[in-house]
Symmetry: C2
Subunit: 143 residues, 2 copies
DNA sequence: TATCTTCTTTAGAATTATTCTAAAAAATGT
DNA sequence: ACATTTTTTAGAATAATTCTAAAGAAGATA
């Protein structure tokens, strides 16, 4: 019999699949980070928040590896980066067309479906330039 | 009739006026930074770029004072901050309603008039939150 | 003017998010 | 197993920004 690895029952095959498709070796660290990122609803994390989260789950991954992994997942198209705050960088598991509310008091992001928002009247890009993307950030504060 | 404007009045009295109105003492450093920021067309600067610029003009101001001054000007409503890049913060002399092109290759900002762009379909803010502002960043790259 | 008080400036240290280095560890192919 | 390649990681390094605290400048008062 193969060794029964009870710890990695449900999320494992799913995460391993994602990693292999992305051309990344399914290491323990990547599997665990992928499980936290992709086995649930879409979410927004910072390197620090994800590192804290896996640490609280008793998983030992260095912060450098969290940074490396977030960037590799981004390069593989599994994540996108969101720039809303000067002091911390966010990564988003929702890579589809959508925009964000940013709760300035909490530092929280909330998705706005891409179909909901329309941006009209964007002038032609400057000469020699092409539009890469249009980001909308709706900054909200506690009333 | 010859009404004094920002472009044709001499920098010093204009800058001193702005500072006094903002409740800030017109020190040499503030006057010089204000002259560079406000006596010409609207512009986008980083602390470093403004510090380099005044240094090249032979003016001696510490980087700490540039940061202090940019924040004081922002608090006084003379500048606004623009978050487009994770590695550097931008300050904008145009405090009116407008949006931006961000040239990712160069790190340059270009204004888009507020009347030009319309954002429709923004959902209601989350409970207990009010919209502070809606920022649109059109990220462009060299073709 | 001289004096008093309140800001302001500044050098340098500290902070913080992130990246880099380079050596050990793990994964994969044969 | 062995060889090759990739990955992880501790700790050092980087870079934007902020902080500290002491010296300097500005405004008020007489
Ligand atoms: Mn972070
Ligand atoms: Mn920054
Ligand atoms: Zn999102
Ligand atoms: Zn602008």
């Amino acid at each position: 019999m193969g060794k029964a690895t009870r710890e990695n029952s449900s999320p494992a095959p799913f995460a391993a699949e994602k990693l292999r498709t992305a051309g990344l070796r399914p290491t323990r660290q990547r599997m665990e980070l992928a499980a936290h990122l992709f086995c649930g609803d879409d979410r927004h994390v910072t390197a620090e928040s994800l590192h804290d989260e896996v640490a609280r789950a008793g998983i030992k991954v260095s912060l450098a590896t969290v940074y490396n992994t977030l960037h590799q997942f981004t390069a593989a198209g599994l994540l996108r980066q969101v720039v809303v705050d000067a002091v911390r960088g966010y990564f988003d598991t929702n890579t589809g067309d959508h925009q964000h509310f940013f709760l300035e008091d909490e530092g929280t992001l909330i998705d706005i479906p891409g179909e909901a928002i329309q941006v009209a009247g964007v002038p032609a890009a400057p000469a020699g330039m092409a539009v890469d993307r249009v980001d909308v950030v709706v900054r909200v504060k506690r009333t």
